[in-house]
Assembly symmetry: C2
Homo-oligomer: 542 residues x 2
């Protein structure tokens, strides 16, 4: 079963209750459960809840001007400057096209979005029309391989992951994750007593080879813990490396998780930012017309062009997928959802009741109105197509600047990266005229062009850094020294150490990485940033 | 030191770090901490964060029509029907007076509320102008007794309590609380491995006498746990009993907490719903003019009329106060804050970063704009005065209906209630003409008129329930039977068992309580509800 995601849809998820932690098991049945039966009784006088009269909500009507669904082009025009994405970003200009959302406190039909409901206490499952939209979206876009998958809102993927850890892990448990990963995922799990077990990565993300090696040779005594039964992974636009895992690798990993009985928590905020292969500028411009044509693809073609979620191959229900509106609508919405088997979903609901309760009613009603009334499912897909192209343009633009600032050479990778192409940036003698011919051939940094997400992961070639030995009396790593130098020259990027799953100091002192985010600066700023980076690295290797 | 809250302000909180749980202690320093130093550097190019360009936020402008601060009268007019609160509740009528809030995506001054900031990733401390407002509000309204108190936002008091439990308690710890309490507080703590230790209550809430008894005689072995070091309490508008604790009792309890080194978590959502003593209808109408005069009190007089928070006597920093906008603005805002010592606040901030992150940006920016631009501090106080009177009218109205439906007699309480007056409701022979003279004298229910909050706590006199013995073959308690009968007759109220801190079945089977909420039904519905209650109770005792 090499491609599990193409199997027949399974009727139901399997019983995975043995994965629940003590806390997850103990999450009580809601003490109010007995009330629910009567709450919906027509005409019943409800004086059970401690709920204010909506007359006392000071918000009478909410309005929003929202961008139209096709605000951003889904691909290049036939003749278009590669920087036109920049001019497309209307900042208070008259170019913006909006529709008006109106949400009154009371509506004639109480099913219509209204503030009397949205701003009242709500259930941990969220507003009904939002639940429906999310269920439809997951069904059509991710196509889970089993039928009783369940969706339930949370207040963002960090909350989702935190709830998953508490529901699944007991203190002392290990959690499998990529060797470089989202810092908050570890920072959230460690205080709860969990250990992070790092798995090597290549340019597709987590290595199935290394994963099997770890699991098949697990020595409980030597490791000081049982074999992990939970995995945290960002398979798409991996943070920080920007890799994008294809369906073959996902199937390999999924099958290993079946074999070793592991729950996969798929944190996937960058799913709709799959930028694909990077084509160098001169080749890209030549193929502009073909790309313009392909931008006209249908909704189905667009979705087929995205790598499948783990849900697609999850015939057992062992995937907890975390989705968020942070990257597709706005981080401040603090709104996202779990997709998982109904057993876990019920536990998450109980947990929500005694922690965050429902997500913000303002967020829920505004996002719901935008998605259901203004855009609809197809409109949202069109919006996502526009976003995908915007991020592709940004990714291409910054990599073009790397090609200008360095001598970039495409070279085969070694070890785990065998068979993959790495972009190696050599010093340019023109930048540092004082450099000798030999040093001009030094590789300074290398990267794999990201295929999804917001980040470029730079590996610094420490052996080219000649300042290294001259400064090693102090306690700082070379990585830290370069990072401080960059900041002092006006460029703030993320130092590699914060992404390390394995935080042993010795290991980190031999590494040099930076994560550079291309999501929120304009083309000219990118150019300046790559210039600062180049300048500092040239100095450090001079 | 009988009234600790009147002592000189202490310079600082004392060191309470030994109260941190393993999780609280382990909450790591933010992995991004090192970045913060440079983030505010003017002109620095920031490519560190995984943040979207605000140009991609589909919300361009947000507007809200909000009620003016004096929408609700702060007290009776000189001549006013007691039911006029009902007509004041404008539901889509033209009576409503609103102002318009406008929040654009970009503002010339980036300090002004704007969506580019509010809808972006934010810190776990929340929007700066909201932080400032909250700090000013706490300083002026609660007047903490030490100077380095700190405020930090959360997503509602249930979240606040959940974070406090994790930060302070290790599994196996006991938590002191009122014998009847907010169900979610227990439902959140128990799955984390905590035990609830119930303290008796009287008509002022938690009994300091019983608390001292429990603490001074604590037997670790017999109890199976160490003496508790954390207390969860709702001192004002206690849920479910509606009692309001005065400053003398608070000081007694605070001093015991000093003596036994206990952290007090003060969950206080009903603070601005202090309705005071209930005066029966005929006496109230006579005193209408005096009340009308007193409604003209100043801001300071209004605040002085509220019982002080535990913060006011907290000269050591051992109080964690939980405030929420759920009852004063709207539950759907999912926005509130901690006030506590800086050590705990820092731990809550770290915890926020790896769970909920910031509260919803929509909630934050709309509430901030309302509080800071539209109303201001004094305007918000005026709004709270209006709310207080609205809840007072509701409380009075429903108690008036009890007086109509039952023969209500004010009687001295016994045991812990010694010295307090209890309202005992006797059967009315007019309602049940088939009843003999004797049974007409049966006490059916009793209550203490609530002095704050949203609830009346009814005690059922089980010995008057003649149906009791005839139905006791099944497993249901009489409480449950009456509750089902009420629901089937069209009245949904909360059964007492869900509020029990002590959940031992045997204890519960001898109790009969209901919590009735008067916060969200109109006068005529209240009348109908009390009628159903009366009718069912008369039947059960016939």
């Amino acid at each position: 079963m090499a491609f599990a995601y193409s199997i027949e849809k399974c009727p139901k998820s399997i019983d995975l209750s043995h994965h629940l932690s003590d806390v997850g098991n103990a999450r009580q049945v809601s003490p109010l459960k007995g009330l629910f039966k009567y709450i919906k009784t027509p005409g019943i006088i409800s004086m059970a809840g401690g709920v204010p009269d909506p007359a006392y909500f000071p918000f009478e009507t909410l309005y929003a001007d929202t961008l139209i669904k096709d605000s951003f082009r889904p691909g290049p025009a036939e003749s278009q400057s590669p920087l036109s994405w920049f001019w497309n970003l209307f900042r208070g200009s008259e170019k913006v096209q909006t529709d008006r959302i109106t949400i009154p406190k009371y509506t004639a039909n109480p099913e219509d979005p209204n503030l009397a409901v949205a701003l009242q206490y709500g259930t941990a499952t969220g507003l009904v029309p939002l639940q429906k939209f999310i269920q439809e979206f997951v069904t059509k876009v991710y196509q889970p391989a089993y039928s009783d998958f369940t969706t339930i809102v949370h207040v963002g993927n960090t909350d989702g992951w935190s709830r998953a850890v508490m529901t699944l892990c007991n203190p002392g448990d290990g959690i499998l994750t990529e060797e470089w990963t989202y810092p908050s995922a570890c920072a959230g799990a460690r205080p709860l007593g969990m250990h992070v077990v790092s798995v090597k990565i290549d340019d597709e993300g987590m290595s199935s080879e290394d994963l099997e090696q770890i699991l098949s040779t697990w020595d409980e005594e030597a490791r000081g813990m049982k074999r992990p039964h939970v995995m945290y992974t960002v398979p798409c636009g991996q943070n920080p490396t920007g890799s994008n895992m294809g369906s073959k690798r996902k199937t390999e990993i999924y099958n290993l998780c079946v074999k070793y009985d592991i729950i996969i928590v798929e944190d996937d905020p960058y799913y709709f930012m799959q930028e694909g292969e990077y084509t160098p500028k001169h080749l890209r411009l030549a193929s502009g017309k073909a790309k313009a044509m392909s931008a006209q693809n249908t909704e189905n073609e667009f979705l087929k062009g995205l790598v499948p979620s783990y849900l697609r191959m999850d015939y057992q229900g062992r995937v907890i997928r975390l989705d968020t509106f942070s990257k597709t609508i706005a981080p401040g919405s603090r709104l996202g959802w779990f997709t998982c088997n109904p057993l876990f979903a019920e536990r998450f609901e109980r947990q929500g009741e005694t922690t965050t309760q429902a997500p913000s009613g303002f967020s829920q009603v505004l996002v719901t109105q935008l998605l259901t009334q203004q855009w609809g499912y197809s409109g949202y897909i069109r919006w996502l197509k526009g976003l995908q192209y915007q991020y592709t343009l940004r990714r291409d633009t910054i990599l073009d600047y790397f090609a200008e600032e360095f001598n970039v050479s495409q070279e085969p990778g070694s070890e785990l990266w065998n068979g993959h192409v790495v972009h190696v940036c050599y010093a340019k003698s023109t930048r540092a005229p004082f450099m000798k011919e030999k040093s001009a051939l030094k590789p300074l940094i290398s990267y794999v062009p990201p295929r999804a997400g917001m980040f470029i992961w730079l590996k610094v070639h420490l052996d080219s850094i000649t300042k290294y030995t001259s400064l090693d009396e102090d306690d700082e790593t070379t990585e830290k020294k370069i990072w401080v130098a960059l900041a002092e020259r006006g460029l703030l990027i993320s130092p590699g150490w914060i992404f390390a799953a394995n935080t042993e100091e010795e290991a980190l002192s031999n590494e040099g990485h930076f994560r550079i985010s291309f999501s929120n600066v304009e083309a000219e700023v990118m150019k300046k940033a790559v210039g600062i980076l180049s300048s500092v690295l040239h100095e450090f290797s001079a």
